[in-house]
């Protein structure tokens, strides 16, 4: 039945639905710069037979799920490389580069030069002191590098703890949102708001670990690692834990440690990058420095004919002779023998006659110094785990280490740059698909305005018709 009264109701539903439309548009415009906000649109439908008017059926978030998945994957990839790159940045700045005058490699060539000077003027007290000072510089530079490396390792472990805490927090927040979202029917403005929050959290999590999500028939979201381990099932969170001792990461009872043989651990995300740093890259760097320190101490002990067994050479392990079974952390302990310390009453001549000499020898005898110099050209025989060939001589080892470590960082940087530009491309595609286009909203607003005006005109006209009728009675 259609009559004046139903026309009145119809116009009213028109007003109500344009009001909803305008509030959706207002929401879109107000949130055009809000991160994580996804454009909404209101879907209208006619009311049905016998009933005039338009109803708002659903408020829909314009999400492109494929793009979202791709963007999360790229974010995870980028986050991994970023963690490696940033973790190494401060250390490699300290380490310097071959040729910049501050790296251990440079200190070593200064030391080698001072020995060469000493070979030509073995009697010169100045040359002797110069060589000892250069040796101290070298030892200090190796110790400094090792110290910075230790700090970096501590920072990385701390960073992993932070990231794990953040991941757990995000998972619990997600579980809570998962529950609250059910209070609202799908297709309402409230549910859309919850979906925005859930998506933001998932984006945040994908920066920490590579994840996959699935939604069960009861509407609950579950989060798994790409290896299949559950992190969140409905409202059950499988806490992620980190064991500082062996670097094991676990979700509930399942091992998710990255790059571990025998399990499908995390592959991407900042946790994978940090774990690679703490379990592989930094230990290798440490080993390289330790091997450098070991080969220096060993070479000067072996080349020194004046030493008796167990007596320390020019370079010492904190004042003692080298213990081949205890080379771990040696780089932090390398020091120049106190016997040749420059100062009042110091016996720098021992550099010429051997650290074990008890009395000053002939002033022009450069045999021992020559032996030291020759020893530096011998292969260092470093551990293969350092990734440096055993045939590299001690003289070249410093430069080799500095180069190897800088290359690792440079590779991480270039990989990070590649990953971040890939991520940026996908992200901007996602923003284009999900974001708010102000022009479009303005154009919608014009239509809404017209529609509202037309509906109110209807009301006015109907009211005038009623007035006419009333006047007729």
């Amino acid at each position: 039945m259609s009559n004046l009264t139903t026309a009145l109701y119809t116009a009213r539903t028109g007003l109500a639905s344009t009001q909803t439309l305008s509030s959706v548009t207002a929401d879109n415009i107000a949130n055009s710069a809000t991160p994580g906000y996804v454009r909404r649109s209101a879907l209208l439908s006619s009311a049905g037979p016998d009933q005039g008017g338009a109803l708002v059926r659903e408020i829909r978030r314009e999400v492109d799920h494929a793009l979202v998945r791709m963007s999360r994957r790229e974010t995870s990839r980028m986050a991994r490389q970023q963690a490696v790159h940033e973790g190494l940045a401060s250390y490699t700045v300290y380490l310097g580069q071959p040729g910049d005058g501050i790296s251990p490699a440079e200190k070593f060539s200064a030391f080698q030069n001072s020995l060469t000077t000493l070979v030509n003027s073995p009697s010169s007290n100045g040359a002797q002191s110069g060589a000892v000072l250069a040796a101290e510089d070298l030892a200090a530079s190796i110790r400094g590098a090792s110290e910075t490396l230790t700090e970096t390792r501590a920072e990385v472990v701390m960073e992993i703890r932070y990231e794990v805490a953040e991941l757990n927090q995000a998972l619990y927040d997600l579980a809570a949102l998962n529950n609250s979202r059910r209070n609202f029917a799908p297709g309402t403005a409230e549910a859309a708001q919850f979906d925005d929050d859930i998506d933001s959290l998932l984006d945040q999590i994908s920066g920490i670990a590579d994840i996959r999500t699935s939604r069960a028939s009861d509407g609950l979201l579950s989060v798994y690692t790409t290896g299949g381990v559950a992190l969140l099932e409905g409202d059950t969170v499988h806490d992620v834990t980190y064991n500082t001792g062996d670097g094991t990461l676990k979700a509930g009872v399942n091992d998710i440690t990255p790059d571990r043989a025998g399990i499908r651990g995390l592959e991407q995300g900042s946790l994978a990058g940090l774990s690679e740093l703490s379990q592989e890259i930094l230990p290798q760097f440490q080993l390289q420095l330790d091997e450098y320190a070991r080969s220096l101490i060993e070479a000067f002990e072996n080349a020194d004919a004046s030493l008796s067994a167990g007596q320390p050479g020019l370079f010492t392990d904190n004042g003692f002779a080298l213990d081949p079974n205890d080379t771990e952390g040696l780089a932090a302990r390398i020091a120049v023998n106190d016997a040749v310390k420059v100062g009042i009453g110091s016996e720098v001549w021992k550099l010429r006659d051997g650290l074990g000499a008890t009395a000053e020898g002939e002033a022009s005898d450069s045999t021992q110094i020559q032996a030291f110099l020759d020893a530096l050209d011998a292969p260092a025989g470093v551990d293969s785990a350092t990734g440096i060939p055993a045939t590299v001589s001690i003289a070249d080892l410093g430069a080799e280490i500095v180069t190897a470590q800088s290359t690792t960082r440079a590779r991480a940087e270039s990989q990070f740059n590649a990953a971040s530009s890939a991520a940026a491309v996908v992200l901007s595609a996602r923003q284009n698909a999900e974001g708010v286009n102000i022009d479009e909203e303005m154009q919608k607003l014009l239509l809404i305005e017209q529609s509202y005006a037309a509906n109110s005109k209807m009301l006015q006209t109907i009211s005038e018709m009623m007035d006419t009728l009333l006047a007729a009675v």
């Binding site: 109701y9 008017g53 059910r182 209070n183 699935s214 609950l220 579950s222 099932e233």
Partner: protein
């Protein structure tokens, strides 16, 4: 026809039209009453004499109800506001869970809200009647021709007890590129939570190990405490239209310790797992997908993706309700369950014009209204139930106004007849001096 009968006829006209105006005023007064049905007067002639055509034709008005035409729909924000789109009525009762059948009525006024006890009651104070669903979600056989099996719809004290998980369906993909390698990679370990009879959440672990044979996987399942339950080897089709679907299940081995058990039907791909977590062990059917079908686990080159769909739940509280077109009221619980609570029937009678008007715009059954039947909404001739909407009255002001003009004119004309006859009679009495 005599002059005095002309007076009588005029008076009957006055009476009939004032009745009509009375009806119009009722309609206008109720123009905004939810679910109101307009009444209207129809004029019929009356005569004292027989059918010879010589009798006097007076008039009287007969009240009729315009019950068939629908009112406009007003949308509201309350889910329990309902409007019937189409023919039919809500069944309501005078008291909650009324046992006296005569206290049941029909109405179109669907502005229901829960009272203090959670019973849905409309603004006129009538309680909504419906057929309750049992816990299994079935309605059973209900007698739709009487009010006997109806109950007052109550959304106050509905809780949901915990329900043990009995089925878990697996879906998703296994990466085919991982199979057939001389040294296959590590197993993919994933888990699904399930609910025990007490509503506790525990999980089953599934370890998918690629084998060195192409398109073959070993699946081993462990319980919540890490104890092995059983394993099975699954071969997948590698070509043809069924490529990617499971081809066969073999090497079905139970490694469970009694009373726990593991069996798998190779024809359906459904594993039956018995878990030793109570006096009566819990049995869960894990559906891996039938051979040569794509409804379970598949194997294509790609990523490892696996998801689970399970039943069962922890203890739940009612969060909100939903009412569908068919009049089924669902409860949404905070543990994620959705359960049918009541069916709200739409009643129809053979002759709606025979219904008796009662207060609170309800209608009572009468001998004239004919047989009553409570149908499922949106079936047969009855309309659908629209939630979050109310039906406005079907009064049209413009029509009432025009009717009023007509009645007024008729009334004044009749009055004119009476005054004229009066004057004529006065003339008659003055004939004799």
């Amino acid at each position: 026809m005599s002059i005095s009968s002309a007076l009588q006829t005029g008076v009957s006209g006055l009476q009939a039209n004032s009745n009509a105006v009375g009806g119009i005023s009722e309609n206008i007064a109720n123009a905004n009453t939810v679910g109101y049905r307009r009444g209207f007067s129809q004029m019929v002639t009356t005569t004292a004499s027989g059918g010879t055509g010589t009798g006097v034709l007076s008039v009287r008005s007969v009240e009729r109800l315009d019950i068939n035409s629908a009112g406009g729909l007003i949308s509201t924000n309350s889910v329990t506001d309902m409007a019937i789109g189409g023919a039919g009525f809500f069944a309501v009762s005078l008291n909650p869970n009324e046992t006296i059948e005569t206290n049941y009525m029909l109405t179109r006024a669907g502005s229901f809200l829960p009272d203090a006890d959670g019973n849905l009651v409309n603004t006129a104070g009538y309680y909504l009647a419906g057929y309750p669903y049992d816990l299994d979600g079935s309605l059973g056989d209900v007698d739709r021709s009487s009010f006997a099996q109806m109950e007052t719809v109550n959304i106050g004290n509905i809780g949901l007890s915990a329900e043990a998980t009995s089925t878990i369906s697996l879906g998703g993909n296994l990466p085919s590129q991982e199979t057939g390698l001389a040294t296959p990679g590590a197993a993919y370990t994933t888990s699904s939570e399930y609910y025990t009879g007490l509503g506790e959440s525990e999980s089953l672990s599934f370890a998918w190990q690629a084998t060195s044979t192409e398109n073959q996987w070993d699946l081993s399942i462990t319980d919540n405490d890490g104890n092995p339950l059983g394993s099975v080897t699954i071969d997948f089709n590698d070509s043809g239209s069924l490529a990617g679907s499971p081809a066969s299940y073999s090497n079905i081995t139970s490694t469970a310790t009694a009373p726990a058990a593991f069996t798998l039907d190779p024809l359906t791909g459904i594993a039956t797992i018995t878990l030793d977590n109570g006096v009566t062990p819990q049995e869960i059917q894990v559906d891996l997908g039938a051979p040569d079908s794509f409804d379970g686990v598949t194997q294509f080159a790609g990523d490892f993706t696996q998801s689970f769909d399970r039943d069962g739940s922890s203890v739940g509280e009612l969060l909100r309700i939903e009412i569908d077109d068919g009049g089924t009221m669902y409860g949404i619980f905070d543990n994620g369950q959705r359960r049918a609570l009541y069916e709200i029937p739409v009643a129809e009678v053979a002759n709606p014009h025979g219904l008796i008007e009662l207060k609170g715009n309800a209608y009572g059954l009468s001998g004239e209204s004919g047989a009553f039947r409570a149908q499922k909404a949106n079936t047969g001739s009855v309309g659908s139930i629209n939630s979050s909407a109310l039906e406005a009255s079907n009064v049209d002001i413009s029509q009432e106004m025009t009717d009023l003009i007509v009645a007024q004119r008729a009334f004044s004309t009749n009055a004119k007849v009476v005054t004229t006859v009066d004057e004529m009679m006065a003339e008659t009495t003055q004939l004799k001096r």
